[in-house]
Symmetry: D2
Subunit: 397 residues, 4 copies
């Protein structure tokens, strides 16, 4: 372990919007000898996770599991279905949408980026308008971020599907669910998504190191026509091996042990209960923010994220000074503001394996930290969150 020169007592509050706290059951499942990835015991595991992930994405088609972190799955989505110079339509929801757009550029695609102010999710009307204008169908894919981790705004993927359909456009729909899968309701098949991208370290409650592509038939057809250079990310390499529960190259065996456990745990709790829990903690957090008199970055309730809440600092206050004080005084990690938002927002992660009292402890850390950092605010945020959570608990009786 990384050594602690001077020990800090108690459990760290990891309230960034991922990686999220890994439950003991998952850590223990991973803490097992690595097995032969070409043997019969592995085959059972391989089948279990490859099948199990379909129940999480809510898809019937194949799910690709990469022994790589999430950025890789973004790259995989692009290089498997597109060709050099292809136009892709993207929407500037925030830092991660921007990174994905920049990646598309680096990979030789032509991303078209609909500008926005980082305070809402993808606007379906803007997507529809742009597609309608694309008479010659030069746009090959629409790429959106389901939950923009830098801002706490979600995109309503079902609406994007409708926008594409309304425009009568054949573009593929590709969705990043890295910080939403298994936290916020998601339906790959029902919403007609062609490629869903995700990662292990958020709603799936694992350490980072696995990432995913869930595929539609249309995506598979596009892949057959794609000529972009690739091997590690190639679905074509993966799928024949996956059929038997194996992988074409060494898989992330121990993370797969954890993934099998995570899938079981999500179903033990029930996916709908998982989503409701995230909604509840998000609402409690927003009530605290409002009680403090601070502003939520996401400016329209319809776009509120249940994974995280980004909070705007009052004018003249530096978010990172506050975050540093909260970390030093109360051993809580909060998310930093990224690029455009650096210093101006902090982000409270409330996703993954957590519960009411942990969220309240975290909000207490924020409230006390605001005070110590001299950030103008009103007390009562924790109280507001408690009032809400207690009322919800009462209802659940």
């Amino acid at each position: 372990m990384v050594s602690n020169a001077a020990r800090i007592a108690g459990r760290h509050f990891l309230q960034i919007p991922g990686p999220t706290p890994v439950p003991d059951r998952i850590l223990r499942a991973m803490d097992m000898p690595t097995i032969d990835h070409r043997g019969p015991e592995f085959q059972k595991l391989g089948r279990r996770v490859l099948d199990g992930m379909k129940s999480i994405f809510k898809c019937a088609g194949p799910v690709i599991i990469y022994p790589a972190s999430g950025t890789g799955a973004w790259e995989a989505a692009l290089v498997n279905v597109l060709n050099a110079g292809d136009k892709v339509l993207m929407f500037e929801t925030g830092h991660f949408a921007t990174l994905w757009k920049n990646m598309a550029l680096k990979l030789g695609l032509q991303p078209e980026f609909i500008a926005s102010d980082w305070r809402i999710g993808t606007d379906p009307a803007a997507i529809e308008a742009r597609l309608r204008a694309d008479k010659s169908h030069e746009i090959k894919a629409v790429c959106v971020v389901h939950n923009e981790t830098s801002t706490g705004c979600i995109t309503h993927v079902g609406e994007i599907r409708k926008a594409i359909d309304a425009a009568g456009h054949p573009a593929l729909l590709m969705v990043d669910t890295i910080s939403s899968l298994a936290s916020i309701d998601y339906r790959h098949d029902e919403w007609g998504v062609d490629v869903t991208v995700s990662g292990s370290q958020k709603g799936l409650m694992l350490p980072p190191g696995l990432s995913f592509n869930a595929l539609s038939e249309k995506a598979l057809a596009a892949a057959r026509a794609s000529t972009m250079p690739k091997l590690f990310w190639s679905w074509e390499e993966m799928l024949p091996h996956n059929k038997n529960g194996f992988f074409p190259y060494t898989p992330g065996t121990n993370l797969l042990y954890g993934l099998a456990e995570a899938i079981d745990m999500l179903h033990e709790e029930g996916l709908e209960n998982v989503f409701a829990r995230h909604d509840r903690h998000a609402e409690a957090t927003r009530r605290a923010v409002t009680a403090w008199g601070l502003e939520i970055l996401c400016r329209e309730p319809k776009y509120y994220s249940s994974s995280l809440t980004a909070v705007l600092m009052p004018e003249g206050q530096n978010a990172d000074d506050f975050r540093r004080i909260a970390l030093e005084k109360f051993d809580i990690s909060l998310g930093t503001g990224l690029t455009k938002l650096a210093g101006r927002v902090f982000r409270i992660g409330h996703l993954g394996d957590t519960n009411d009292l942990t969220i309240l402890g975290a909000l207490a850390g924020v409230e006390m930290g605001l005070g110590l950092a001299g950030v103008p605010h009103k007390k009562g945020g924790v109280q507001a969150a408690m009032d809400y959570l207690a009322a919800q608990a009462k209802k659940a009786a």
Copy 2:
């Protein structure tokens, strides 16, 4: 692991006054192959823990480590220094003092029990008076509980020492520190204690399964004259083996791995810092209780415990109904009222490896639970605790 039919998300809040939350470092240290307890690697471990425990008890003499839980160390203390029919003086601080007295009876001793109302620690004046009256020195030992886990009242051991000295009485002083060691300041040698009893599962942050006797020269002399039947608990069996780092019978090897780690961790934090942290969390808890308008069981501040706070329920309210609701709704375990106090108090443990935000999460669980259980109280307990902890954090700057 014990299976979870329907999974509850997040980390359980274990706020009983022990066993306490075991830090990951300690669990991981224990999660290692068992070694030969007669080999050279064990010998290093044995020496390390036998020596290390002296720094925790603050004693120069030997510490006995039993592969048994704390009740055993109580028994060991009695059977090693006393003889059948010996009189021992005890003080009714609460449930555990009563259990120890009952044990003395069962073992054929004659405990004399100074009655009290379970709302203070041991009264030194009562001890002194009784010893002064014992002209013939029939009383062989004074046995007190440093921190009465059933009530949250501490005994000032230094004052008991003074009382014995003032009475000019030769009785041995025996102290139970099961729920205080490594949480509340304790000084075996300085306070002239003859036998200190303790266990692994509280301030030492280990699972239950190890217990301790720290010994004075006088205790060792008494042991040589003791004729009570014993083998497992016999110091005489232990000490010659301990000299070389070994044990006369199979030790609790994996718990000893954890103990070695725990001793390191306590010194990394610094024992004085550990005590100050416990004091701070106790005060925060009492402020919450007071804000709720509830009564602290311990009726004199000088006896307040830094390990736990026992809270009296308002008339007509059942503590266990409340505890059950808190557990079901907020996944928090609180201590039950024991025997005389059953249904009338609940106990909030704030000892072991914890921190401000965990304590605040726990207090939020209590505050919301009181509401759901319909227990008359005022809101604002968490806020009061936050105000106090934030002020303390500011001072520490």
Copy 3:
């Protein structure tokens, strides 16, 4: 963890006759947060292990689980059913029988010890003869060691039962199965045993720290009449709590997690398969010893132990020198010769969670170590064991 100044690569071969190698599944089961031992989750665990242990002892009556290592369970067996000055009949199978006898003396009983040469198990004829001579039934209990860990000789408990019955004697039958339970066939009820003593760290594959008493109706009746001082060991204290899955004092919670897992694992393999596996490894080991031209300490095959094999050194050779060399050169721990046998024998443990290739690796360590230590022997021991194990594996086809 205990640090390794200069690291030795690979996994240590722990070939002492206990503690045995703890399987990863059990270590991981134990590596979980400690829970409230008075709460509903603990209750399920308590019931599971209290019931589960009956299937291991093959008994219908209660099993007591102590949060203490095995020596304690010896003491518990004696102090619960006997009274000061009671005569108990014991047989000198070796070091552990002698320790138990010495304990009985220390506890104020009158053990009568039938002498033997430490090279056989208990002789039923000797027991019968002595009991027949005890016309006045002064002997209250016959205490035997099922598997004498110091010598590798077993006692046929069914024959002892027959001897007692043949003598028409009412003595209780008490059996130590510390190094045999879950390794060698054992039947508490069928063999009419009154108290069976055992521990966690051998066939149960756990670290040390739990020990057991399995009880008959007759033992329970005797306990009601017993007046020996006791509390920690008292069945009377335990049983009412155990009925609900709880314990009268803090139990060894994390070890109980491991015990629940161990019971499952033994039944997954099947107890009969577990016994057959131990028999096979014992026979393979004896074939190696014979091939080396060394002498097995146990001098009659009917007494051969399936848990361990003690090997006599050739005249003039020191067993501990050899053991030290084997440890230094090949990272294998072998059992030392105890008291009378010190320096004259070494013991090969082949019990607990092991398999053919591990046993062969261990035998290779012994064979090479004999060579390096200059102990006169013939090569071919490993080859003989391989021939036997391969033949057995073939049969199993």
Copy 4:
């Protein structure tokens, strides 16, 4: 964990040439909460592993750590320094050299593959001859596999360096050390390697999931001129972040905990000792193979690998039948023959965290398995290995 319907006792023998057995210390180091990868604690960890890996590659320049398995690091090496259509010179050492060549093709490069019979390492003379013929320096890189995992033949990288220099050719030298790093002596700087590729799951004793590129100045210069599309693999993205101990996207945090521990462990043992240990186990294995009368696939001793030994089956015998029997009967995983060698060879891995007795247990599994599978062979392989290892142990005295 993956469940065991019917449990098999004991520890599995994982004798494939990787993944290798993960030591408990490393598994435990990984079994810790994931931390904020943008916080100060992570930064310490990042610096520690980024620096530490230089001591393993023996290089002064930067090491890139990917949160991806080894195949990715192959791809990274190619796409960072080359351009579409570039010629690369490769040598057909076996299956993995072929895969790398195929990858180069897929990525749009023009690999030139010097054919060989899979029974030797790279022939330096062939490399030199080809480079001398390449007057116009069309060949941009020479790519060799240090240890060909499919055959057990090594390439002497220093000789390849000399061959390139002798030809006066400016090609980059790229080396795959996936199954050799930290097992077989390797010197990135001394041998003038430009890109060394490696992975976590072999000599580094970790689970799969991390991979590496070690870079020379020349490689960095080539990277600046490379135009191949990339982002996840891009050194340019990585290096500025790495300077501060951070990563441009989510790193494999828990695997990095393990890596930090692994680097410490390798230095505790001493890299030279690690290499000598692998040499010893390889020689012991070859002596066993020779004693069995079987043929080692590697046909020239100068190319013998210390990581694994591939063994040719006698005519008419199927290697996979034998492997299946060994797995079923003795719970040992051996490596399969890959593509051209399918069914004709099996591979014995003797790399990573292992020791003499484990290797002997494994060889016993092979010897007994050969017998059960009816493969013609002579006995005595284990004996030959024991004789050798005992002699080596004696020398070490």
